[in-house]
């Protein structure tokens, strides 16, 4: 075992971890926002919307994330190349980089997986609370914002913590399309130093720490929310 490369490649590793965290934050927030829509869509009484969100979650949860990333990066990416108009536009630097394709694929994936979770949470909110809100004459959107959604998210916090750790692990797939995330940097170091697994071990440790950090954050969130125990 040889860890002398740590000094030389330390900066690069920090940058890689930053990229991973960026992916985590972008896909986490945007994906969560989409997931709320998907969750309500699954409960919708309109057949078309319900069917659409069901097919979306089936599609996302039934295919490997790696394939989804390849469809985005190689598939959709290769379509863009054939439009000269796009190649000259200001969008091109973004369209050339793997990062944004991975961010998009991860966002959709989070929307699919968490959407199903949120559907379950929305169903778990006691009916009486919603009826009470309606009886007080709350408009529907206000009721969703103040009561239905916050209550559902509170019920789901432990599940959401698990989903966040899953997302952290999924971001590692970015390295397969040449994004320099934490795992990508580890692979680069492996190629440059001819060490087979020491960089991977260090990165595994970093992922472990990040996962623990996420769990801790959610625990704190859980503690902060007021729970009334009348019994």
């Amino acid at each position: 075992m040889n860890f002398e490369w740590l000094g030389e490649y330390g900066r690069m590793m920090v940058l890689g971890v930053m990229t991973t965290l960026q992916l985590l934050l972008i896909a986490g927030t945007l994906g969560f926002a989409l997931a709320v829509l998907v969750g309500f869509g699954r409960l919708s009484r309109q057949p078309f919307i319900a069917w659409l969100s069901l097919s979306f979650t089936n599609l996302i949860r039934g295919t490997p994330l790696l394939v989804q990333i390849y469809v985005m990066y190689y598939g959709v990416g290769s379509l863009f190349v054939s439009f000269p108009l796009l190649r000259d536009s200001w969008l091109w630097p973004y369209l050339r980089e793997g990062f944004w394709y991975v961010a998009l694929a991860l966002t959709l994936s989070v929307a699919g997986y968490v959407g199903e979770v949120i559907k379950g949470g929305l169903r778990g909110v006691p009916k009486g609370e919603l009826e009470a809100a309606r009886a007080l004459g709350m408009p529907r959107l206000l009721m969703i914002r103040r009561i239905w959604l916050p209550r559902a998210i509170f019920i789901l916090l432990p599940t959401l913590a698990g989903e966040s750790v899953m997302l952290l692990k999924s971001t590692a797939l970015a390295s397969t399309v040449a994004v320099m995330d934490a795992l990508g940097v580890a692979n680069l170091i492996r190629n440059q130093t001819f060490l087979t697994y020491e960089p991977l071990l260090v990165m595994a440790l970093i992922y472990l720490l990040l996962a623990m950090l996420i769990e801790r954050l959610f625990k704190r969130l859980e503690m902060r929310l007021p729970v009334r125990n009348a019994f």
Binding site: P64, L66, V67, G77, S78, K169, A172, L183, L200, Y207
Partner: protein, 236 residues
């Protein structure tokens, strides 16, 4: 319409056989890894429930690490470090290095990752068996192995099946990660097809459809199986 026939020609006529072969390999890897994962899971779940000091700590470390570290990283790590480890052991025994069989490596690596999840599912299922059943068996003087065989295993199965079927679906999707270390399964074959025909979008969408088909079919089979093994469960 013309595009459709061209797509059909490329995917089904030119590459259909290779893709089918890849799909079979994916299924084989998944089945193998599922059985390895179940065995590891049962073992680890048993260790966790017997609460044996040092073993318990090892089992906890195993499930924590395997569930917090990305699968792709674990696969790379186990694939390269595992090969080195085997060769090191062989060298200690004065043997030459062994060639690593890609298929076996894939099965073992995915099995180790799956074992961690399976262990938690099985532990939860065993713990949800009503204690009265076990006490009744013991009161009748059932020997230990018979309790495991006749009561714990069959009663645990319906509780565990939901989690295990999820695990199977995750496994099918994780088997695509094996393509990264260059083993010739479904996604790797597709990569080659897409690269040589330059029809990236077409082939990746086609392979997504194949995976979707496999998962939907598995869902159907699992729900049938579920109905069969939970027929004794009290209806609500």
């Amino acid at each position: 319409m013309e595009w459709l026939t061209k797509a059909f020609d490329a995917v089904v006529l030119d590459w259909g056989c290779a893709l089918l072969q890849g799909a079979l390999v994916t299924l084989q890897i998944s089945l193998g890894a599922f059985s390895v994962g179940l065995c590891i899971g049962l073992l680890v779940a048993m260790i966790k429930m017997t609460r044996h000091g040092l073993l318990l700590r090892l089992a906890n470390a195993y499930t924590t690490v395997c569930r917090a570290v990305p699968e792709l990283l674990l696969i790379l790590l186990l694939y390269y470090a595992g090969g080195d480890l085997i060769n090191w052991v062989l060298a200690q025994l004065d043997q030459g290095p062994a060639p690593i069989n890609g298929f076996m490596a894939a099965v073992v690596v995915l099995g180790i990752v799956q074992g961690a999840y399976a262990a938690e599912i099985i532990r939860g299922a065993v713990q949800s068996i009503p204690t009265g059943h076990l006490e009744a068996a013991r009161a009748f003087g059932c020997p230990r192995h018979m309790i495991v065989q006749r009561i714990i295993l069959p009663e645990m199965l319906p509780y565990a099946l939901g989690g295990l079927s999820n695990l199977w679906l995750i496994l099918i999707k994780d088997s695509a990660l094996i393509s990264v270390v260059g083993y010739n399964e479904l996604l790797f074959t597709t990569k080659q097809a897409a690269g040589s025909t330059r029809e990236y979008l077409l082939f990746y969408l086609a392979v997504a459809a194949v995976y979707l088909l496999i998962t939907l079919l598995s869902n159907l089979l699992f729900s049938r199986f579920d109905r069969r093994i939970s027929r004794w469960m009290p209806a609500h």
